[in-house]
Symmetry: C2
Amino acid sequence: MNSRSQDSAGFAALDMSTLGERLGNVPAIADKVGRDISQWKVREVGDGNLNLVFIVEGDKGGVVVKQALPYVRLVGESWPLPLKRSFFEYHALRRQEKRAGVGSVPAIYHFDEGQALLAMEYLSPHVILRRRLIEGAILPKIGRDLGLFCARTLFRGSDLAMPTRERKQDVALFCDNVELCDITENLVFTDPYFEAELNQHTSPQLDGIVAELRADRDLKVEAQRLKHLFAAKAETLLHGDLHTGSVMVTETDTRVIDPEFAFYGPIAFDVGMMLANFWMSYFSQAGHENNGDRSEMREWLLSVTDEIWSVFRAEFSHLWRTERNGILYASSIFEERGDTLASEQALNTVLSEIWTDLLGFAGIECHRRILGLAHNADFETIEDPDLRARCERPALLFGRQLAVNRSRIHSMDEVNEMARIIASEDA
Amino acid sequence: MNSRSQDSAGFAALDMSTLGERLGNVPAIADKVGRDISQWKVREVGDGNLNLVFIVEGDKGGVVVKQALPYVRLVGESWPLPLKRSFFEYHALRRQEKRAGVGSVPAIYHFDEGQALLAMEYLSPHVILRRRLIEGAILPKIGRDLGLFCARTLFRGSDLAMPTRERKQDVALFCDNVELCDITENLVFTDPYFEAELNQHTSPQLDGIVAELRADRDLKVEAQRLKHLFAAKAETLLHGDLHTGSVMVTETDTRVIDPEFAFYGPIAFDVGMMLANFWMSYFSQAGHENNGDRSEMREWLLSVTDEIWSVFRAEFSHLWRTERNGILYASSIFEERGDTLASEQALNTVLSEIWTDLLGFAGIECHRRILGLAHNADFETIEDPDLRARCERPALLFGRQLAVNRSRIHSMDEVNEMARIIASEDA
């Protein structure tokens, strides 16, 4: 029931030679690229783990065409993955655009469910945020844009704002994204903490600390509590894979892409994952100093974490005070009785839980990117394994402190000071 | 999407004169009652708020026939309520029987979705538990049976035990029970805390304390936090309306009935609601002493709360150690490494959260049964309003203490001692 068709009858993967024929007669695409398909130039640019991605350019302009494959591209046909993830990506993008505004995600031109195919805005000259951070680029708008994106999508997708009938229908819809959830549940929360088959880490340099972490009872219990929270708390529609590889940037523009892991989960999850990737970038900078000192970059990265959280908090509070139209903390029992402080007190309790939980999710994300299957280019592009391990080790220590001590950390200053201490002691 | 048909085309409410004709040719029913419908005796016994309930007896035996109406029976056609609640009741009963065992709920003989009609075991000489408690009956098995029912249904319906794909499909299925959730969300968590239209309380005797509670910022914030937890934490399949009016008993048998409010929510909800009804029975006993002293009954009721929780905890722990086959706290990262204490530490964190939250839900339940629309016979059958108010007032104070101080209360002894103190000071 409620399952999207999982068979791929009629599905055919695109390739560069047939793409023009197959998509040239789709008006929404031809309008953007140009009607003369003989002029189309097609490039396959997918560098992700899961899908095909083409850039199609013609005499009028360009589009990006993203197509799911019935298996995990990174692993191959031995790991099947349903095409319906494209359906969830499409629906998540539409909701994100509505909630965070036009220009927060790529515009969608066309969706073909049977072909698991999305045609969308070709973002140019945008570059993946992670790559810019590896290069040492300072992007003045990024903290603010990401803080706003998180606050707006996560607040407006919850029972704080939505009609609950609509939210419950949406929960039911996204419950069917079970295979992508399964990836998160296993790869993020479980596999890093035991000798799972697909795990990898910089070895032998990290063997010692990896063994310590996998024997660390408090850490493993916390990781599983966070998994419990992720699996059970259907609070809002998450992006589900919000890291610096899911953001495209220029100096002046920020777009969030690739929400195929979308699922109803805890507000803290997206925020914590995103912050973790800035902290990992911080720890990785020491591996990228061949072209010059990265001290300024490092401090800027910490300032971004501070800005993401403070912008998130400010915008979430603003929405709380102006758009709290859902079933939770209803103004009928607070403000209408003139008790503004009740609403503010409730806001404190909600933000306080988000804070504590996001630190936990951030800690776990640091681990899975160094111990699990899917690593980060931040570290992976450091070729010298000794140098790479010297960057990864403090990130592992930092992640452990966040996950286990999260209920005793109260401010971003404390977190960032801890990052500095761990980085300098281990340098 | 995923919505059960909400129109009632073809639906016809049963009545005593047509019931035989309409159900006589259903083999599963005729087998139980007897094929000669001229021998059928039909009684309408529905004393609930929502549905029609018939007892049908014939030469072979009896069945109970429960039929939903397209509106709230207590209020009338002005409050429509979809027939599909019968579908959710049917599916919840099947799951409960599987999880808590044959004999924990009535056996189901027949379900007709279009007629919103369930034919089930005629429980005789069973009586509604609440009525027995009002009469002052001591039921030796009740604490154990209810503790086991809660532990088994709630553990086995969660990601602790179920294949998560199945749980997610089930979450989606029950998300459509939105109208019944809406009743809980409003009547339990919100209406009691402001002057909602349908509210009622013993007036003027309780006017003072009711005004105090409705101005109590800490209480209202806690009630809304609990609503947030109820709405967002899709942890397990709840009964959803588990109180002493949803249990039928003899001296030796206990059956849980009426799970039409079934929904995925926090484990603590069912347990807290059930305990609250024993505490309300405790406070109501002073109103039923016309036939003799109820001191022994009162102490027994407190001992039942203790037994429900300790049996729940023991059985939940047993299932944790023997049936933890879901995605959470997987043995692959705990026991397989020989670290039994990791699993026990995680069990402590899970039980500790259930405990804290169930106290909150119990506190809120005490309030809504005295301040909201749906009151309890425990208090309602006390005819003298002064006497009734003297019983209700301590229950209100008790509920407030539970809801607001729940994170600082560690044992059932403390809770029950608080009940005794409040009862004696206010008597």
